[in-house]
Amino acid sequence: MEALIHQYPWLDELLMGFIGLTWKHVVMWAVGALLIYLAAKHDYEPALLLPIGFGAVLANIPHSSAVSTHPGEEGFLIVLYNAGIANELFPVLIFIAIGAMCDFAPLIRRPSVMLFAAAAQFGIFATAIGATLVGFSFEHAASIGIIGAADGPTTIYVASRFAQELLGPLSVAAYCYMSLVPVIQPPVINAITTSSERKIKMGFEGEEPVSQTTKFLFPIMIVIIAGIVAPISVALIGSLMFGNILKESGVVDNLSNCAQNELANLVTLVLGITIGGTMTAERFLTFDVLLIMCLGAVAFVFDTVGGVLFAKLLNTFSPTKINPMIGACGISAFPMSGRVIAKMALKEDPTNFIIQHAIGVNVAGQVASVVAGGLVLALIPALAK
């Protein structure tokens, strides 16, 4: 073959795809196809898993021009990576879109639900410890733990700073497990609660309606407090709250609608395919990635346990009982977690409607996950020294 190519140099150009093909590329096509299948057939986070799966296929064609790193001939996925992920722009833009979609009124009516959201971040730290025990460095372990924030943009943001080589698997794990919340959370909750606890009904005593002024001032207040505590989190929480103030101001409906629709769709599209472009065989087909996928599941389990046990702990002190299942909604997978818990309550007792409480905790999870991400961002460089 080499003699043939030597005699006819143009053959090398024609056959480079075949010559460069290895079993690893084929396995990665299968991984990409699996993600596309899960998105298309089972509706698992299709807006992200489908572009990620396709990006993975593009990145694993030998000598793919989509991921070329030759100076002056950079592939479009490399250009997108440098333009939006290496500099953390895409996650921030996604947060503007999420903020514009969020209604914080349930959280403002009952701010104490934020405590459940804080407790449900326990999985981040438990998983980070677990990751160091299986051999990951501290920076990588903390980035793996962030999967437990159940928040894709936060995971991408932290990974792009401290674990760039793990960005692909971390993002895939985060989005896969977010879509698997209806599978992961119910058995965990059933294991640590009794049937009578799951049947606890919750009222709305003392919950006043929220004024427009409060809704308008809330994002400014949160940004200032979070920003003072962890200035490094301002990009994340600031963009989330900027999106929200666009919505709550009521004077820039066109910008708010743009953030909720065009911006969300466009950035999701390029974010997904760009992450897929980082999933090259040499990076993805490693034992570490297998560990990351396992640790991602652990993170979601510990989040759920943390939230539910905290609610049970409060019940031992509080005269007004809380349905401990709503503690599990403190993860940021919004609104899926809230819906799953509300359905579980209805399954236990068809007259028990806790959807509003569950969604309130779930919205608080959005804020708490960003705060947790900000604290981790601030502490990694300090502790890594």
Binding site: F125, T132, A142, M221, I225, A226, V229, L375, L379, L383
Partner: protein, 52 residues
């Protein structure tokens, strides 16, 4: 590895209580904000008419 684990444990020991403290401040500030700007009470026109 031990060093990485001890750093991860330190991360949890610092970050979890800090997060609860920050969330506590959020709760207090949100309650104060909610109390400072209550939603306007809806007027019942019929009742007002009767009072008049």
């Amino acid at each position: 590895m031990e060093s990485a684990t001890s750093k991860a444990i330190t991360l949890m020991i610092i970050a979890l209580p800090t997060m609860f403290a920050v969330i506590g401040v959020f709760i207090g500030a949100t309650k104060a904000l909610h109390a400072a700007f209550p939603a306007p009470v809806e007027n019942d026109d019929d009742e007002e008419y009767e009072d008049d």
